[in-house]
């Protein structure tokens, strides 16, 4: 499940690159979905219903269904539905599932509350399935923190932690910075500044495996486009120990 920040601030450029954050977010998300098709559900010429997909954009006052078509009920798509619904546009190499114009505020907490409701329903219907929630934001932390009461934040955090106990729920938060700040990737302890810590707390521990020994938080702060791409690969393929090290992840000690 994706929760994508579609606020006006994602209309900023990545440093001097000339590419909008929003375009990169949409492009990388679409690449991830295409990889999910190729890697995970398309097998022997058939689409196998191995993964359900759901996605929302938090934008302005609303939380909007992000994938093609109307919001379904239940609020996720079978593989047959989502894998076939990408649209080829303007000779684009990658089919498009997600696109948005940056606008308005960032109702991320509303989006996460919505996600909690959907996950509750999904867990009842699919008790043995793992759930991977990815939140992509350029995080105006002040706005996120000020838009809700501490109670609401605590409720969401408590639910995510509860799901994470069973080790089959992961919430990965990828925060992007257009200002080329120093990234933090999969930390073991919370960052010191208040707002980075807020997103750390709302992410969950990575699933127990070789890659997360010691336990690491599924959280990236100040990601650049390359790190965003790396992070999203976590959702579509088997990641081996040290596999992220090869490609110059800025944090040298990270796996």
């Amino acid at each position: 499940m994706f929760v994508i920040d579609g606020s006006h601030s994602t209309g900023a450029l990545w440093g001097s690159s000339g590419e909008l954050l929003s375009d990169t977010i949409a492009h990388q998300t679409n690449r991830l979905i295409l990889d999910l098709v190729v890697n995970a559900v398309f097998d022997e010429g058939e689409i196998r219903d191995r993964i359900k997909l759901s996605g929302y954009i938090a934008q302005g006052e609303d939380v909007i269904w992000a994938l093609p078509g109307l919001e379904p009920n239940p609020k996720w798509l079978d593989a047959e539905q989502w894998a076939n619904s990408g649209q080829k546009e303007n000779n684009s190499k990658t089919p498009v599932w997600v696109k948005f114009e940056p606008k308005g505020k960032t109702p991320l907490l509303k989006a996460w509350s919505n996600a909690v409701e959907i996950i509750e329903e999904f867990r009842v219907e699919n008790p043995k399935s793992g759930i991977f929630l990815v939140s992509l934001t350029d995080g105006d932390f002040e706005e996120i923190a000020n838009s809700a009461s501490e109670v609401q934040i605590n409720e969401i955090q408590s639910k995510f932690n509860e799901y994470n106990q069973s080790d089959n729920f992961t919430h990965m938060v990828v925060h992007m910075s257009a200002e080329e700040k120093t990234p933090i990737a999969f930390p073991t302890t919370p960052p010191s500044d208040k707002f980075s810590k807020l997103l750390f707390d709302l992410s969950t521990w990575m699933p127990k495996s070789e890659i997360s020994d010691p336990l690491r938080r599924a959280y990236i702060c100040n990601a650049d486009p390359g790190l965003l791409s790396h992070a999203l690969e976590l959702g579509s393929k088997v990641i081996r120990n040290n596999s992220l090290q090869q490609d110059s992840m800025p944090i040298s000690e990270e796996e």
């Binding site: 190729v38 097998d43 022997e44 010429g45 043995k128 393929k237 088997v238």
Partner: protein, 357 residues
């Protein structure tokens, strides 16, 4: 880099840096989605089909889409294994070659493994399609047991024997694929790069389990499942997902709580059922493998056993029986040289649970 990036690059001639040894080719896109070439994808490799322009012959091209630790070491090992396949005249695994720096994807030069395309269906699909055909499934069990003997005999091991990595040809012949998981006793590894597929792999297997005999548990488990399907075809769908052939990881972790094990228990005799349960109950893969081996101490007549720890089979060098191209020859191999082994492994039991081997 994702698999989609590789498919995208592969469909552009300019991204190919060198001749793959098959001359000009086109990629098969008959089953691809969104205009991409047709592909099978595993945890680390994406496999496309190339059609040689001059002959229309098909080749499988395997390209890594995931980070391969110690890539040069891995490629050297693959080179050595390729030579072993030729040297040992292996007919259950396709010959292949490794072409380094063959394809450029996102500024990286990737190796490509080129091998003949095997016309066959995955074991899961074959079993699903033939679930009501006990003759074909019995023949498949025999061929799987024969494959086990061939692996023993030739000194090979395979770390990812799974329903998706076994292809069954129209004539019933079977082929293993996935050279990345193929090992040979003479080129030992210190750690395995994979743990096998969770639907057939022993739940206690770790990367430190380097064999020999990694193939034994999954092969026996698949035979065990197929034997149950022979008795009760309703155990499986017509088109099962190769990634969830029969068991899930949780079934193998807790067989006592598994509904699927209960279904199998009803279909099989105690002699067929118990060894797998005993092997699963053992927390060490090595000891679990021992349980599934034939009991050589009980052998009272001369018999050659292809034993993973005794794979220096120089005695067999002069044997008139060599693996040949036909599955029936392979079957003769095991039936002729392994009478006791054959009895224990797949001699089978009748409905009353009595040996008929």
């Amino acid at each position: 880099m994702g698999a989609a990036d590789i498919l995208d690059a592969a469909s552009h001639q300019g991204c190919w840096n060198t001749d793959l040894g098959i001359g000009a080719f086109e990629l098969d896109d008959s089953e691809g989605l969104y205009g991409l070439p047709s592909a099978r994808t595993g945890a680390s490799w994406v496999v496309m089909t190339a059609i040689q322009s001059s002959t229309n012959k098909k080749f499988a091209l395997r390209i890594p889409h995931n980070y391969i630790p110690q890539i040069e070491e891995t490629l050297s090992r693959l080179d050595t294994i390729a030579e072993k396949i030729i040297e040992k005249k292996i007919d259950w695994f396709p010959q292949y070659s490794v072409v380094r720096n063959a394809l450029t994807v996102l500024d990286k030069e990737l190796p490509v493994i080129v091998m003949p395309y095997i016309e066959g269906t995955s074991l899961s699909k074959y079993v699903g399609t033939n679930r009501k055909n006990p003759k074909k499934l019995t023949e498949l069990c025999t061929n799987l047991s024969t494959l086990e003997a061939c692996l023993f005999e030739s000194g090979f091991d395979h770390g990812d024997v799974s329903p998706g990595n076994i292809l069954v040809c129209e004539n019933g012949d079977i082929n293993l694929i996935d050279p990345d998981s193929l090992y040979h006793l003479e080129c030992a590894v210190s750690r395995c790069t994979e743990l096998g597929h969770p639907s057939v792999s022993h739940p206690c297997r770790t990367a430190d389990d380097i064999g020999p005999g990694l193939f034994i548990f999954p092969l026996r488990l698949m035979i065990f499942i197929i034997q149950a399907i022979i008795k009760n075809p309703a155990l499986i769908e017509e088109n099962p997902d190769p990634n969830a052939f029969f068991f899930e990881e949780s079934d193998l972790q807790k067989p006592a709580k598994s509904k699927k094990f209960k279904q199998i228990k009803r279909a099989l005799s105690k002699q067929q059922y118990d060894p797998i349960l005993k092997a699963l109950a053992n927390p060490s893969l090595q000891r679990a493998t021992e349980i599934l081996r034939p009991d050589i101490s009980a052998v009272s007549k001369p018999v050659i056993l292809f034993h993973p720890s005794e794979m220096d089979l120089t005695d067999l060098a002069d044997s008139p029986i060599k693996p040949k191209k036909s599955p029936s020859t392979r079957r003769r191999l095991i039936m002729t040289t392994l009478p006791l082994y054959a009895e224990i492994t797949f001699g089978g039991n009748d409905d009353n649970g009595e040996h008929n081997g």
